[in-house]
Symmetry: C2
Subunit: 413 residues, 2 copies
DNA sequence: CCACTTAAACAACGCTGTTGCCAAAGTGCA
DNA sequence: TGCACTTTGGCAACAGCGTTGTTTAAGTGG
């Protein structure tokens, strides 16, 4: 299984370009984009774009939507992504809560469902809760946000289910490891078991990775790198480098919490000393949020320096409770660093809005991202993507086939 | 200039596969590799490999070299890379020394040249020294390592010159920034100036990046991620993630030395406090190498945890002077960390051999790597690759055209 | 000596994006 | 009102890619 397989043939080429066009359609959103702009954006000839968009329209993934004002000649025809050509479910299995979302191809969350969850309970109980959540999200009429949205009717095309859980885990194989506090999950093949049960492709990833992926897809297209720092019961991070999610070979990347920030500092629950998490949580517990922000900022500054990233995003319950303090505190440390180096403006810091859903939304993007060619940074050694259960409700396989882009194929989704 | 241009057409496809095959030929080395093994390794059909290798042979990049023993049928024909089909010069502009190497397509260093250099001198002086080094490496008979090596005869195909210099600098544009201690270089367009002067493509990168790239190409093919930590007059690093060099958007990645390792610790020359570099160099100055290694190891552990890398490589003059102490010291810290986490064996640590040439060798690989499809992790925003001076001695452009792989095109090299 | 196996080239093919050409659909001036 | 002009985008022919089917080459083993 340790093969590279990066050779590319014509179907690969076709998928790559189709995914590229789909991604531009996606980022254009409601406004749409013309064929010539697609050609400009991809570097393909207008004629190639015409052919590709014709295929996409035939498959129901794209549609014409009005015209631009003329600039002296025939006006450009605007194309748009058809949002309900495909849906994905995102599940966030948190320690005490399950959040599920239904997201359409355009990235719009069309339904949300929350339920209490005990991640420490028996596997069967958790799986049953997940199954119920998926069923509830898919089956019923429109959803909580009313009939204004063109609610998915029965028989919608469900591309798969993305599951975000606390780490550590193996994204490639979809197996959980010893989730902190819940050792009974160690070695549980969540992806395969859930996929079998649902009859749908399932992708599993760390909660922080899912959140980062979701944020990456909402950010400006192409390039851009950022760190998502999540401060809740623990401190974790998700890394997006050059526009792609970086998981590392064993899905272990982003273990931000146990970075040593104070040599021989106070002991941490991990057994180490002076970890950011320990320092930060201690400050929070002591009520000194400014100090917590300073510690977090120092860790963030290390990240910014090491990875040369473009921005820092903050999230998690603790941050959400006092956004301003944390954003300003981290900003201050980064500004100080930028001043010392004199290398341009400081890296911007922002809090993630609507945090309660960020992880679940991102989990859905685990399924949707490959359709748009958003692969992770390739690790040929590790298996990647959703292995099990093809089809089931995959319709005519329109979007299913146009999965991986060239270079670093994820396994079929 | 901020375009993506990741659309792929047939020539792109061809280049990608050709580069892939070339890379397998390169890693096979003297032993060579058969067509069927190439097919196995690329995922292409044997017939496609036959066509591609036929082209490569026609271009003089590959040649048949013997046969394998038969396994009951026609024996496999072994193919090998033709090493002298192309050469690259690598220059390491260090603060007090210039090291130049001539490297062939197979990655063998066929000539070395060292000369004292004052990087603080006038630009003209430094450029003249660089020009002389290139001329000396290319013109004379075989070189210092005697007539055993099939020395490049006059008229060799020189693909370009890679230059490694202390950072910070902009790899994409080939412009130096304020090199620590030598502010006069700030804004100097080294790539374009040198390219104009030599009539050759030139690529500029940080010394640590070049070293890491060189090491990456020598490592096991595909995948694999590691950090190269360089402890000399300062402390820097080069990151290879998923087999590809990671520079960040502004070539700033790898600023390892000024990671805060001790909150509110002793002041550092950078203006910050508790930086790894300050702590490490202080320990070295105090003669406590074990402590220096422990500090370095703690910083390395942060890297390993954050990026989930596979191994740590150490280099630089200070390390070279006491390899054992540093390797063991860093190993100890990483082993301790692995034991706490219980997640498999500790990450291996090793010192880089022949350190005096590691950077220069890597600089040459800045030119050679794209031929084999080794692109960096893409940052569509930043211009990349060697822009200037095409041709000159580019021969029939055989290798020149087969530059970028699919996905994240570097500008033509 | 011949049957069998394996490797690799030859030939025909389907499909890709590209090029050349032309119809469609506007604007703007006479 | 009409005609020239501009711009968009489809149609058709094409070159080039990897693939498939077949044949030839070059060995082993009974």
């Amino acid at each position: 299984m340790n093969r590279s397989y990066t050779g590319a043939n014509l179907p690969t080429l076709r998928s790559h370009n189709a995914a590229l066009v789909l991604d531009l359609l996606r980022t254009a959103g409601e406004a749409g984009i013309s064929r010539l702009e697609l050609a400009e954006g991809t570097g393909l000839t207008p004629q190639a774009v015409s052919k590709i968009t014709a295929r996409l329209r035939a498959e129901g993934l794209a549609a014409e939507a009005g015209r631009r004002p003329s600039t002296g000649g025939k006006p450009r025809t605007v194309l748009r992504l058809v949002p309900d050509a495909g849906y994905a479910v995102g599940l966030h299995l948190d320690r005490d809560e399950l959040t599920g979302v239904l997201v359409d191809l355009a990235g719009t969350t069309v339904a949300v469902r929350r339920a209490p969850l005990d991640l420490g309970a028996d596997a069967e109980v958790v799986l049953e809760a997940a199954t119920r959540a998926v069923a509830a999200l898919v089956l019923p009429p429109p959803g909580p946000d009313g009939p204004t949205t063109p609610g998915p009717e029965r028989g919608l095309t469900l591309l798969g289910v993305g599951v975000a859980a606390p780490g550590p885990l193996d994204h490639g194989r979809g197996v959980l490891h010893r989730v902190t506090g819940f050792p009974q999950w160690d070695g549980f093949a969540l992806r395969d078991v859930l996929s079998e049960r649902l009859g749908l492709p399932v992708v599993v990833d760390k909660d922080t990775n899912a959140a980062a992926l979701g944020l990456a897809l909402r950010a400006r297209p192409g390039g851009g790198s950022f760190a998502y720092l999540h401060l809740g019961t623990g401190l974790g991070s998700g890394l997006v480098l050059g526009g792609a999610l970086y998981r590392g070979a064993r899905t272990g990347a982003g273990e931000f919490g146990h970075q040593t920030l104070q040599l021989d500092g106070p002991p941490c629950s991990c057994g180490g000393r002076g970890c950011v998490e320990a320092l930060c949580l201690a400050a929070v517990a002591g009520g000194d949020l400014a100090e917590a922000a300073r510690v977090l900022g120092t860790g963030a500054a290390n990240l910014v320096g090491l990875l040369d990233i473009d921005r820092v995003l903050l999230g998690g319950r603790v941050v959400a409770a006092d956004e301003e303090v944390f954003v300003r505190g981290v900003e201050a440390v980064l500004a100080d660093r930028a001043r010392r180096e004199g290398s341009g403006p400081a890296v911007p810091v922002a809090a993630v809005a609507g945090d309660g859903r960020a992880v679940a939304d991102g989990a859905a993007q685990l399924v949707l991202a490959p359709v748009f060619g958003h692969a992770d940074i390739a690790f040929p050694g590790a298996a990647s993507g959703a292995g099990a259960a093809e089809g089931a409700s995959g319709a005519d396989g329109a979007a299913g086939g146009s999965g991986g882009p060239l270079g670093g194929f994820p396994a079929v989704i």
